[in-house]
Structures are given as C-alpha cells and as structure tokens.
Symmetry: C4
C-alpha cells in the first residue's frame, strides 16, 4: 500500500468523469482496475450511465425561485442532512488514500452527510467513530455463517455509534470482473474489523480474517433481516435490490429502508440499469420505507432524476474514492460540493427549490415528449 | 479584445457546420469555447441537431412550382421580412468581430431580416439603432432587481426604435458550461448599455455595470410580463419556453409571442431537444400568438421543419457569430443567404412555394412512415 | 475527359461497396465526387442503405429447391428479362469510361437486361441504339420548356427503338451536393443529344445545348404525363416517386409504371429512405401498373427485399458506373452477374425459386419478430 | 495443414471474445477467416451477439442459494450431461489442431458433455468413437443424392455408437462468405468419412470424396426426416431452424429435436438473430421435443438467457475451435469450464440453482422493464 495517496486539498472539479481520468493516470493499476471496473462486458456500467440520459427534466420558467432560496437539506431516519447525497459503502479505502476510511468519514462529515463504513474496511469501526465525532455514519454488513462474528461486529458497530446497518444482499458471489483477473488483483491491506474480531476472540477458538471472509454467508433468506435487526438493535437498510418483488419481501421481513443498487455494475452484467428499475420499485414500496438509490450517479442531474423517480436519498460510490485519492478528506468534500453545485443549477432551471419539489417533478422519456403532450 | 476580427467580405459557405470548424481555427480559444459551448455533457447541443433528423419531409413531385416563384417573405408583428429567419439575441458580439453588434445589425439589415440586440451587448442601443436605420431590430432584456435600471433600459430601447422586447426567462442562473470553466473565460469587453446606465445615473446613487449584472432578477414570475409591457410600451416576446404549460401561462399573462428555445443547449443539459417540444407547444399556443423557434438550426431543412411543426419565425444564433467573425456584416448576410438557398431547394423538392404552404406540410417520423400510410 | 477509363474486362467482385472503394482510388476526384455524392449531410444516402437492414428475410428450410431450378427471369411491358435488375438512368457516363453509354448499353445487353439512356448522355440515342441491337433500352427524359426540343427528342428516341420513356420528376432543381461545390465540378463532356438537336435545328432559330439545359421545365404538373405519352407514343414511366399520393395522381394521369426512387439520396436530404416508402406506395398502386424501385441497392438481398416489398423490377445506378469504369461493358455485366449470384443464394436460403415467389414472401421488422409470432 | 497446432494444455481464459483475438494472431489466415467469418456484411454475426444484450436477467436476492448447491447437470435423450452446453458440429477441425476431431471429442468428454462429429470431418467416425469411449457423441449429416452414401454413412455412425443424427438443413448452398473469397480458401485436409466410403465401395462403381461433396442434396423436403430416421435407427435432430412454421413441419415429419440455429451467421445474412427467433419457435414447439440452441453464445449469461427463452440445451461452435487451437483437448475443456463458471455466477446472482429454475426465469426487454412493472 505504499502507492496510496497522502494528498489533502480541496479539488477544482470540472466534472466527475474527468476526475476518474485524472485518477487513472497515477493510481496503482490493480487498485484503479478494482475500483473502476464492472462485471464481464461492463454493459451495466455503461447502461447505468446511459439510462439517466433517457429521461428528461422539462425546463420551467418564471417559477419565482431565487437561487439563494434553493434548499438541499433533507433527512433520513430523522438524521438531518445538508444534501440528499450520501456515500455508498466501499471496501478497502486504503487503496485510494493512506488514511482510508478516516479521511472519507471526515470528508463526508464536512459535507454534512452520511459516511457508510464497510465491514471490509482498512480502519476499524472504532477509529472511524472517533473521527466522525457527532457526524452520523452507517455500518455496512455482510452476513457470516459464523454467528459469533455477526454478534461481535454488529455490537461493535452499535457501541461505536453507527446509526444504521446496511445489509448488502447482492454480492453472495463476486461478479466476474475481468480487470481484476487480468491484473491478478488482491487486496493489499488488512481488514481492520476482522482483525479486531481476531483480537476479541483471544483465548477462544479463533477465526483469522481470511477464515471470516471465506465464511461469508451465501444462502441468504429474507428472515436474515430480522436476525440482523435483533442483533444490532439498529435500523436495517437492505442494499442491492433490483426487483420490485424482492423489495416487497424485504419490507415484509422488516427492512427499514430499501437501497436500490446494482452494485455499480460490478455484479450481474446481464441485469438492467439501476435507474431503470427505480420507478417500478418505488411504486411497489409505495412510501412504506425510505428508498436510497445508487449506481451510476455522476451528475447533479442524476441526483435530481433519481429523486424525481422515487428515491429519498442518493448515494455515490467511485467518485468519492477518486476525490479521496486526489485530495483526502477535502477531496471527498469537494466531490459532494460539486454535485451539490450541479444539482442547484438543475433545480433552478427545472423550476424547483427543495427536495420535496424535486420528488414531485415529472420526468419524460423521448416517446412521452412526443406523445403525452399531444394527446 | 485585440484578437477580434476585422474581416469584411461575403463568404463562400459550404454548410454551417464547416463554418464552425473554420472559425475554431483562428478565434481566441476562450471566445470560441464560450460561443460554441453547451452545458455539462452537451447532450442537448447534440440532441438539438439530432432531433431534426428524426422527422422527414416527403418529397413531392409535379406540384407546378417554378423555382423563381418560390417566396420566402413573411411578417412578424406586421413587420415585413424577406426571410422567415431572424437572429437570436447573443451577448458580447465584440468577441467575434471588432464592430460587434454594429456589423451584425448591418448584416441582418442587408438580409432583410431582424437583428436582436442583447442587454449585454458591446455596443449601445443608440449605436445599433443608427446603423440599423429603417431596418427593424428587437431588444433582448434580462429583468433586474433594480427597477430604475429596468425603466431606463426599456425606455432607451423604445426611444431608439426597437420594435419589440425579447424577455429572456430561461437563464436565471447560467448553465454549467465546462469549456468556460476550463478556459477560465471572462467577458473581455465592456457592456455598453450598462455603461450608458451608469452615465445616465450621474449625480444619483450610482450602480456600476458589475453591480447591475449581479442584480439580475432570478425569482421571475409570470406577472413580470405585464411589468415589462407597461414599462416599454412594446410587444413582449417571452424567450426560453420548453414547457407547453409555461407557454400557456405566459400568454395568459400577456406575452405577445412565444420564443421556443433551450438557449441552444447552454442551460439545462437534462432537458429535451427544443425541436422535440415545438409541436406540443404549438398545439397549446393554438395560434393565439406567433411562435419563434430556435436551438440547433443549421440547415435550410431545419427551418422548413420548424415552420412545418408550428413555428412562424425561425431564429439562428451561433452561425451568425461565425459569419460575423469571418466576414463582418457581409459574413452575417452570407449566413442568412446560405440558409435561404438551402431552404428554397427544400421547398422546391418538398413541393411548396411559400411559408404558409410549408406551415401546412405534414412531417413524418420513421414510425409514422412505416404505419400511417399502411393503415 | 482524358482521365476516363478505357478498361475492358470482366471483374472479380467481392461486393459492390468495395467496388466503390476501388474506383475512388483512381477516378478523377470531381467525377467520383459527382457520381458518389448525395445531398447535404448525405443522410438519405446512408439511410437508403440502413433501411434494408431493418427488414429480415426468414430463413426457410426443406422447401424442395434445387439451386439449378432457381429462375431470375421476369418481364416488363412484355419485354423478357433474364434478371429483375435493370439499370437506372445516369447522365454523362463518359465520366466513367471513354465509351460511356455505348459500353453500358453493351454490358446490360450481355446481362440480358434493360439499359436506360439519359437525355444528358455523352452519346446520342442513335449511337446507343446501334450497339444495343435487339436488346431493349429505355430513354430517360427531362421535360423542357421548349416544346420543339421535347418533340424532337421524344421522336428521336422512338425512331431509334426506345421501348419506354422514363420521365424524371424529382429533379426540377438539383439537390445541394456539397462535394460538387467543393470540387467546383462541371460536366467535362458534351451532351450528345442536345448537340443532335442543335444540328437538327440548323436553319431555324437555334438553341445551343446550354440553352436547352437552362430551359428544363421546373413547374411540372401531372398532365405533363399525357403530353409525353402523346408526343412519344411510348409507355411512360414516372420516376422519382416517394409519396403514395403522388403515385396515385401519376397513375390517374396515365403513368404506365411508377419508379420509386429518391434519386439515390442526391435530392431531398430530409426525405425518407426510398425502401421505407416502398410498401406504402405499393399498397396505393395496388398492382394497377408495374413498380420499378431504386436507391441504395447494393446487395442481392436488397433486390430480394425490394421485390418482397412491392417492386416488380429493381434498378441499380452507381455500381454500374463503377463497373463501367473498371471494366467497360464487361465490367457492367460483372456487376449484374454479381448481384444475380447473391440474389440466387438469398433465394435458396429464403426458400423461394422464382421472382413471383419472392414477391409473395413476408419480411419482418425486429419488432414484428418479437411480437407477431408470439401472439 | 502443417500450420495446424499441436498444443495441449489447459487455458487461462479471460473471456471467449479475447480467445478469438489470441487465435487470430497465429492461426493460418485462410483457416481463421473460414472459422471466424460470416456471410456478406456479417450483419447476423453481429446481431447474434447484440440480441443477447437486449434481454435482461433481473438480479434476485435472498433466494437461499449456496453456490456449492448450484447444479448444472441436465440430460438430452436420456443422456446425462454435466452441463447444458454441448458442441455444435463443425467441419474440418484439422484446420485448428493436428489431432482435429479426436482432440475435440476428448475435450468434450472431459467436460462431461456431447461432441458432435461432422460428416466433413478430418477424422473418421471410427477414430472418434475410439477416443470418445463411454462418452456420448452425435453425428452431423448432410443428405446426399447418392443413396448408397447415405446408407453407408448413417450405418457407419450407428455401428460406431453415435447417439443421434444431426440433420443440417440450412446449408443447401453455402452462404456468401467474403473472407473465403478474399483468401481463396479451400479445405486443405481430407474428408476422412468420404475416404472411408471410397474404400468401402471398392469393387463397385466408385464415388470419390469430391464427387460425394458435389452430390449433396439441395432440394430437401420434410419427408427426408423419416428417411434418415429409418436408415439410421437413431433420433434425428433437425438443425438450422429459424422459422416457427418450419419447426412445426419438422416435428410433424418426425424430428426428435429442433436445433434452432442460423449457422452462426454464416448463411443468410438478411435473416434475424437466432436468439430473437427462439421464443417464437419455443412457443410453436410447445415442449413436444427438446430444443437445442446455438449461434452467438459467448458468455455464461447467453447460456442462461437461451435456456430461459425456451432452449433445453445450448451449443457452442467457434470458441471450441479456438480452445482446440490453443490447447487441444484440454483447451476445449477449458472453454466449457469457463462458460460453466460464468453461468454459475449468473445463476447465483439471478437467484436460481438449477437448469429447470433457469428455464422458469422471466427475462425482460428494456421496454418491458419500463412498462410491465408499472401497470
């Protein structure tokens, strides 16, 4: 991990696509391939981006909006947020920056939003909790066959102040990512929470971090949601939903929020764009629980469109790691600020001044433009 | 502004796309980026062009049309025009040519059509009025929070013979144009009308041009239309409409014409192509007031298609600045003449001989070609 | 015209697209630009090709077809043809080969099909008639304001054995072809038939070839069809139809055949693909008269698809000039033979053995494939 | 055939597309052109691939699937298979490897699946039978006008243990493959089964291998199916079906299975993608007989989608020859294993654990995603 960046500075961002180009020039090839890559032919990776361009925001005029009145604030589980944009959980952030999750957590705190800590982070929950301070963070969790591990880690998260558990359910096997095969990629760092578990077990029959990884549970069932809720005593967000039916079952099983995601195109490359599934899932969820959306968000307009299609909160992944690599905590904050800036312009020109008004905005497909108004 | 052109000559134009390529070779990079650029990913810029190609003019034969009988003349607000093609308002034309708006105004006069002068021009209304002479011109206006400025400038326009006010309503915040960020672009010239206001205020509490710019009104409301009508005593064209509903409200509020435009793709990059919205807006307007159309017009066929889709007048922006740069007033006239030439050929081959016949022509989408005739 | 080819040999043709590439390497740039080029953005040129790929021939098996039984023969106006593929009229074939129309006529005779002679040919009707011998040829005609010219030329055609008049109605003004403007292209040769007219007038008030050209009639009307029929006493094919309504009017006015064509994309660049209009025109014509089809035919499969979409005869233009340039009369024959070869393979694999069976074959769009069979 | 490979090793496969690139670098140009190539413009070759991307597998979660429980086994005609992926018949495998069909047969045996031997193989049925041992193989057959040949070869196959006859019906004439014309390609090896026939005839009126080839029957009829069944006494699979009607006629005529194929885009280039015809054919077949599918399968997801669209078995062609070239029998096995690996990941993420569950899975088009769930 000697290549990991030690940068710490705000970034002059033109747009988030160019940020990736910049990172690609000096990040370790294997690390960049792992972060950037998608599964197989990367059809979903491409489709996630394309899908946003298939829906139009109609420009509205004379809607009495002063730019200074535009308000991005919202809330999730009663937690006040300065922006509807939170961070998607991502493993091993030491790949991007020497301070890893500590810097990300600081950056998200500066942006007034939520940091999501991965089970497979390079820093412990405890370390992250310290730098997060008053700022809320969520803990992302992969269920394990080892119940002792489950109990330890969920308790560890709760004791250190995590506000919710993100239960990832779409990665019971890793997507077939060819860059990682080509680059013979392996995580170079240590998984700090697994080491914490190893230490905690001392004296008992011990499980090494590698053994914990191998024991990740594949045969997930909807009743696992209750199990996690009971062990953690925290709200459980079920992450990785693309099917409306699965969203329904997850809510019936106790999910406190649905996280619509196709893992940024890293899992099933034959699946649809995440944004294309959002309206149907939102219809099925029918406001029973909040919806968080991710996969492909690179523009303020994408945030707008996701909110207008049923999302309550929008999460961003890779660009935050790019910001982290280029500018540490400040870089992470710059990414969120840039998206906020684009979002505000889109709101002004789309004729809305707060998140609720975005959520009531109707988007149009090309076909709808040509037919709906002419009937 | 030393780089601005001093050329004065008619142009041999192959087509307007190549004109842009030619200009790109020797115009100052910042100036060219500002003129050419669109917002964000420039999706609308591209889509504006593409949209014209999705509608077909059916070739018609044996319609008894002598090319010499083809008549491009029309009128707007009773002003006779030699062509349905007028100029879109554009700021700071000194970027393209040392004579700026004076040369454009002369060029449009030579073409027998209307010049639209921007509030943020490099030449004053008074100067332009002098060169325009008998030829009609319109004045484009951004409403200001400073009511004294509004009163001054609208009176200044009227006194100098402007025939109508173009009230731009789609730019309460600037679109996010990345070339301008990359080039660190700033207007190099002075805003002549704002300086005229500064001079006019002498002795009172004074507003500098920069202060006027900052005070541009964002929270526009439909009743502002009446305010501008009363201050100016001139017809008010509401420019920047993409929503049929907004068109309706503007007419209810007193608009004398609707200018359908997405600002040439410079504002909301998530919006539709301007041409794709035209039929729905025309249906909503239902001939209550004239419709002016712009955004993406680069071919005589585009003019034809816009007229056949509900427009009464078609406006052109960037290509006129390119003509201005390469040939001054003569270059501006060459651009209009080239479009007229292409338009006449399209009319002959489409089987129509005047603007009214174009407006009654039915266009077809690919799907309609395959289904309408076969039912 | 010193660059014109004097080649005379059969060609080894891979496909007709590559033939164009080969010609482009050594034909005079202006001549190649004139022959290859389309109007404006060449959208129709591209669309003519694309349109064929939107319709599928369903492979059929076990249909009891011996390849040696496949029969391409057909007829037009009672004239027996060895192939359904005839030549489209094209002006000034001296551009492609020193023997110009004489070589083309010989090549088409060898192929057992019809040669179409342009009014603006480099060889006279008389010269062509001599080399054609027993083989039928048609004469293509542009109506002139000078009635003496009309009478002369139509009589000249009839006296020399032309079997039909092709009245071109889609070129009352030339399409805007940018290559010709760029290359400053002018016909280098003489128009032999116009010179014949000049000679014929000797002693009377004389019209030079250039004056005849200028006097081409633009204000065509449907009753002109009767005029041409009466002057020539020959069947009149109306060429350049893209509108079903125009096809109907032409038949009502006496047309003996309809030639569906968009002039190979050389005229109205905003129009549809010719192949896309064929089904609707065929439905309107309803077998009252034969339909000839051209524009974009480069493959045996295109011939198949045109015949299956309502055409009785399919015409080919540019590729014949390419064959003429590379191989003279033999080259022309090679082009037809190559198309015949591809057509036969398509027939065998499509499960049909003669032209009539092709005409009864149903083609499918992608959408129809996905829906028609599943209902 | 001196260039043919003698490699024997397992392959590190990234994906099957790259395998082709690797082969292209060192296989003889003519051989590679023959194996890789498609007909005419290779539209079907491209479309075969594209078609898979138009249907989506919806990711499913929490479906209680342990990866180790995923089961690829299935059966055909009661023959147990370790994978639903079998080999398509391909001629002259000596082009790819010195051991030709012997190595392929060994590789498929190792993969626990079926090898399909072509009539026009470089090794005899007898030789293949020896290396296949207990492992099942099918014999692919082109009907001949020479009934003695038919009787000989079908008996030869049966005596040597072939489990079924694959009657290819879509190649009564070879598709027009331009690479073969360009490369002046001819099969360099001998056709071992035709030589076996020559030897068998000794003493009678003899037919050389070339004469047998020339006498291949073109005028196939559906009753030929019974003829082959009676001569061979084996199940007959009719291969090369793209029309639902032809599938129906073949079953009525006694076909024991339908093999949906467009010959990998090598025959009628104007036809549809094979995958696009599968649902309609499956509907028509209505489970009366098993369906085998090929043409364009390069991903485990393609296998999944074909099975979910009505196929019972999926066949792969070219990639197996590429594996054969690069690694002999081991290379062939590596190709199947790689597809199995991708398929397993797709099953886990698509929420199914066996072939039957795949077959009950619903796929979605983009349009269905946008509409079906929202009604």
């Amino acid at each position: 991990m000697t290549q990991a960046s030690t940068q710490e500075k705000p970034l002059n961002i033109i747009n988030l696509y160019e940020l990736a180009d910049e990172v690609s020039k000096n990040m370790d090839k294997g690390a960049f391939g792992y972060i950037r890559g998608g599964a197989e032919d990367e059809l979903v990776l491409e489709n996630n981006r394309r899908s946003f361009n298939q829906k139009f925001i109609l420009p509205r005029v004379m809607q009495n909006i002063e730019t200074s009145d535009i308000d991005l604030s919202t809330q999730l589980f009663g937690i006040p947020l300065k922006t509807p944009i939170i961070q998607s959980p991502m493993a091993a952030q030491g790949l991007a920056h020497q301070d890893g999750e500590l810097a990300s957590a600081k950056g998200m705190a500066k942006a007034g939003s939520i940091f999501s800590l991965s089970t497979y982070s390079n820093k412990t929950i405890e370390e992250v909790a310290k730098v997060a301070g008053e700022n809320p963070f969520f803990f992302q969790f992969y269920l394990n066959k080892n119940t002792e591990f489950n109990a330890f880690i969920l308790n560890y998260a709760k004791q250190n102040g995590a506000k919710a558990i993100i239960l990832t359910v779409d990665s019971t096997v890793a997507g077939y990512r060819e860059d990682d095969v080509r680059n013979n990629f392996n995580y170079p760092g240590k998984f700090a929470n697994l080491e914490a578990f190893e230490k905690y077990q001392r004296g008992k029959q011990q499980l090494t971090p590698s053994e914990v990884l191998v024991e990740a549970k594949q045969a997930l069932v909807f009743s696992d949601i209750q199990y996690v809720k009971q062990l953690s005593g925290l709200p459980v967000i079920v992450k990785g939903i693309q099917s409306p039916v699965d969203a329904h079952h997850a809510i019936k099983a106790g999910a406190d929020a649905i996280w619509v995601s196709n893992h940024g195109g890293r899992q099933l490359d034959s699946g649809p764009a995440s944004f294309d599934m959002l309206p149907a899932i939102a219809k099925m969820v029918n406001k029973r629980v909040p919806i968080i959306f991710d996969s492909g968000v690179r523009r303020g307009s994408h945030v707008f469109k996701a909110l207008a299609s049923g999302a309550d909160i929008v999460a961003v992944g890779r660009p935050i790691l790019y910001g982290l690599h280029l500018g540490g905590a400040e870089g992470v904050n710059s990414v969120i600020e840039h998206l906020n800036k684009e979002l505000r312009i889109n709101m002004q020109l789309g004729g809305v001044k707060d998140i609720e008004q975005i959520q009531r905005t109707v988007l149009y497909t090309q076909t709808e433009l040509e037919t709906r108004f002419l009937q």
